[in-house]
Subunit: 202 residues, 4 copies
Amino acid sequence: MADAKERILHAALKEFSKEGLGGARVERIAKNACINKAMIFYYFSSKQNLYREVLYGVMSKIFGQVSELISQETGAEVFLEKMTEIYITFLAKNQDFVRMIALDMIRNPGNIDRFFKEFFEDRFEKGPGLLFGKVQEWYKKGEILESDPLQFIINILSLNIFVFIGKPIFEAIFNVKIDEIEGFYQNRIKSVVNILKKGMLK
Amino acid sequence: MADAKERILHAALKEFSKEGLGGARVERIAKNACINKAMIFYYFSSKQNLYREVLYGVMSKIFGQVSELISQETGAEVFLEKMTEIYITFLAKNQDFVRMIALDMIRNPGNIDRFFKEFFEDRFEKGPGLLFGKVQEWYKKGEILESDPLQFIINILSLNIFVFIGKPIFEAIFNVKIDEIEGFYQNRIKSVVNILKKGMLK
Amino acid sequence: MADAKERILHAALKEFSKEGLGGARVERIAKNACINKAMIFYYFSSKQNLYREVLYGVMSKIFGQVSELISQETGAEVFLEKMTEIYITFLAKNQDFVRMIALDMIRNPGNIDRFFKEFFEDRFEKGPGLLFGKVQEWYKKGEILESDPLQFIINILSLNIFVFIGKPIFEAIFNVKIDEIEGFYQNRIKSVVNILKKGMLK
Amino acid sequence: MADAKERILHAALKEFSKEGLGGARVERIAKNACINKAMIFYYFSSKQNLYREVLYGVMSKIFGQVSELISQETGAEVFLEKMTEIYITFLAKNQDFVRMIALDMIRNPGNIDRFFKEFFEDRFEKGPGLLFGKVQEWYKKGEILESDPLQFIINILSLNIFVFIGKPIFEAIFNVKIDEIEGFYQNRIKSVVNILKKGMLK
DNA sequence: TATGAATGAGAGTTCATTCAT
DNA sequence: TATGAATGAACTCTCATTCAT
């Protein structure tokens, strides 16, 4: 069994990613972490702060992924392929991450921005800035059709992420359990790569 | 000024779509509706129930839109165009709806299914079922590339909906305020229609 | 259908005699009286006051009975017989009265005294005082064994009244429904008269 | 000073036996128990439940008394003597018990029955059943006059219990404070034993 | 580190009462 | 008289947080 702090963080992620900050209960987190409630305050001093630590951990892991990818020198096609493959695979295994961030975006839209500023600090051009530049370059080179980098990125992220949030809708419409469909996420990757390439590359 | 019940529903949507059921405060709803807190219980008997009524109202409006569209006899191309146009326009004006449902899907994934069963009752084949059939038909006729109706629908909905949820991410990356960008949603519609047609039609 | 005020009093007795002043709900009284809640305040100005009116009505009816009996010139034996007959018959038909007063005695032991003072005013010697005197007289004449008028009265009232309060105990012990036992209260009268005469007369 | 849980139970008995469930105030109980209001919920989870625990405690103590007495092999005479002595002495010291049960019988007549079923479980014949049998036996043996065990028991309990409920009436009639009368309950025992023996034994 | 008990600030809910019509 | 809507105070209950050990 992992050490106490680790167990708390794990239980907290489960709780926050389902209930949000307001709906989460310290008591429940403690119980699921098999620990006395007071220990949570001993380690993290407040619920707020525990939330922050969980959130930042999740964001670091999620945005760290892209960060790395962006820094590689690749063409648009390879980027789309890799991006989709990496993301969907990663998020499928960490669906709590998506929910945690989705909830936080709704409750506190400014958090992401704040996180970006802290996370990339003065090396903004190594993250978002770099991406922005690349997309423009690809367009100039004639690799991609979409002239607007903003729409370009929205398209990619939408196709990569929304499936994890909208699952209940799809499951209701098609009367299936998505995570029980054999090879679903492999198919998802194919479908997304396909539409992205056909739809956005020249 | 609208009557009290209406004002409550309006304020409640604002509150729930930002805070979720657990985080919402009855007091705040009352204040924003300019009524006495007790009136909320007079009309809706509990916070839970108020939530339910708001949620079902929102779902009816959102899913009612498609419901109508699906029942029209159109080819795949027109469907993609209309669907995108209608949805993005509608959701841009009712962004609280998206947030409300997104929050609810995370907290209570079973709700959507329950709603569908109540909403479409025994006329399931006029809603989801009909859609499912149409997609298959389009594929058989060779109108579309994507053979899997599930992926087909996920692609459409992702591109239509996620922009409203992921806004903070895009705003952080590009350092813009999306709702202040002149003609943004018109561009979004164009971009989505474009990628959908190029990426999924034959 | 009786007029509104009457209906309210009737419904209030039912409510108060089951729930007491604190537990009674104005709303419920109104509903059972088939009347708008506000009318109760129109007629009785407050819940407290309605309670008072009901209580005093009940007490007048109950204590009025004895009052009359006492003023008759009878020996001890006839007194015991009449008293028991009158009381048990009357209370069996008005069991709410007993409950109402029992609840009130527990909640507010001083009420009875206050009522007595108002009810008998300066003619105390026509009520309690008279009774007291008679018992002493009977004892002097050698009609009764019990020398203490207090115990004498407690015995009588206990045997006449408690059956209506303790019903649930008896029903649980004997697994019966007392009010459904054919001729129960007639038997009760016989049993009480018997024990009183054998036990307290010379 | 007793521990918190004990103090709560004690204060709760005081409160409930005066106000009933509906009229009782958690705040008052807390204050009288010298603890924080929240502790009541910490230990008992709800006012309802606290009430239940108090009630069942009281019932156990009250009915436990008889339970023991009944199981002893005695004739009718000794039974009447012991019963009266034990009960009046016990109840005089625990007048809250009587009030608590009296209030509950009025509010919720079914509780006693439920309690009996739980308390005596499958050993019903060791409690009520046993008593019933004994009374019948005494009658057959010619020890008692009253042929109906139901009336027999009602007579005993009425004379033993009602004095504690009807106190305000007696105090009003005789203008005394019963608990301040020197030796009152000893006299009461004598009076009751006397009337029971003369009135019901052969 | 770890725990059970304790606290205080509110949260949702109820309810007697009043108001406008 | 009669009604539905409105109000404010009070009530039960919850929860993050702290304390004593």
